[in-house]
Symmetry: C2
Subunit: 214 residues, 2 copies
DNA sequence: AACACTATTGATCGAATGATCAATAACAGG
DNA sequence: CCTGTTATTGATCATTCGATCAATAGTGTT
């Protein structure tokens, strides 16, 4: 009796197969990531993860020091994965091309799930200290990546600014804001391409159209 | 026994004074706004609001159809108040001056509490339908206000764009993104002034420095 | 002063959360 | 084959949440 099997879904479970700790830990991490991307960081609960993996909540608790840490780790894994992906996409011969590619990639609307995780992290990170630390670290990593593009452009004489650090922060802020908006009102995703390019041209002292892709 | 008095804080309460419904409703709304600004929309709970007003949770429930609606209403009240404030601040002789004033006002870091409410609303609005509708409505209102400034500038020959609607959305996205970032990493609040001005100059085909205030 | 209306309460549900811990059962090494 | 280690479980707590509703107590009206 007493409901259990956390909760309904595919009831009547047998005892979970015994696995190597590393394997089980990886499963739990993967399930947490899936849940976060599909339903948000707030849905990463003991019971939700346990249900997704097919084990009891107690086992999930056994593998994580506490849920705040698991949420923080999940956030980090998702966001680091995104950065790795984008790093590869953005490989281009010139800084202008890299920057144009970065903008079009991050604003193409195909990463709404990751954007949702970012936005939620800014709120949850205020109460979940581990998450807050992770958020700051990953924002720094992103800023660093963008700054490298800017700096290389300045060095090559393509861009003009005396503060690549600030430009990188500004750029990220713009991107995140536009994506956050698109999360709620996903219109105007297409036509904003040239507009943000013009904005960035203004920031970097470029002539109009310098950042048009192709 | 049985704890109660929701919870500890200033224990041993007497029965709350009987008030006119409108007055009590206003009190509840005000308390909800205060809580949302101080601790976030998620902290607007029956018990928190009741505690702040000095009544029982049941009374708060009596005055609101349900908590989703109260949260949505609270969000709307806060954001409408912000827009009204900014509308007054932004009264200026020329569109360029209005726009410059808008940017400096919204980016001066003095509205972090409202920004936090915005950011949280983008997340909560996905599950709370009433809130979601309110978020879209208030975003539209803001867009409208910004668009008016842009359009007036275009008409006066100060700005150059063929799509004031898109520019307004873009501008809002930038502002919200930068403010959201500042919520987590409030550095770089000062030096970004001229940078965002340059970005907007790029969007509106203005010469560098055209939007410098003073 | 009696009464009708209604603002306010107390008590209580049911659902969901994170967390703990003794008991169980699968596996590995001797 | 036995035994020790440990992955896994079941049961259970204490919190917190939104919500409901009969009972109570102010208030204004007649």
């Amino acid at each position: 009796m007493y409901l259990h099997w956390y909760t309904m879904s595919t009831s009547t479970r047998t005892r979970a197969e015994r696995k190597a700790p590393e394997e089980r830990a990886a499963e739990i991490q993967a399930a947490a990531r899936r849940i976060a991307l599909q339903q948000g960081l707030a849905a990463v609960t003991l019971r939700a993860v346990a249900g997704a993996v097919g084990v009891t909540p107690a086992l999930v608790a056994h593998y994580a020091p506490n849920m705040d840490a698991l949420v923080a780790e999940t956030f980090g894994a998702i966001v680091r994965g995104e950065l790795d992906e984008v790093r590869e996409i953005v490989v281009q011969p010139t800084a202008s091309r890299r920057l144009a590619r970065l903008l079009s990639t991050l604003l193409d609307g195909s990463r709404a799930d990751v954007t949702a995780v970012w936005v939620e992290s800014w709120t949850l990170g205020r109460r979940n200290e581990a998450l807050g630390a992770s958020v700051r670290a990953e924002m720094d990593a992103w800023q660093q990546a963008v700054q490298e593009i800017i700096a290389s452009g300045v060095e090559a004489g393509e861009f003009h600014t005396d503060d690549p650090t600030a430009v990188a922060w500004q750029l990220l802020g713009m991107i995140d804001g536009l994506n956050a908006h698109a999360l709620v009102r996903w219109g105007a995703a297409a036509e904003r391409g040239p507009l943000i390019a013009h904005a960035v041209e203004g920031m970097l002292g470029l002539p109009r159209g310098a950042l048009a892709e192709r």
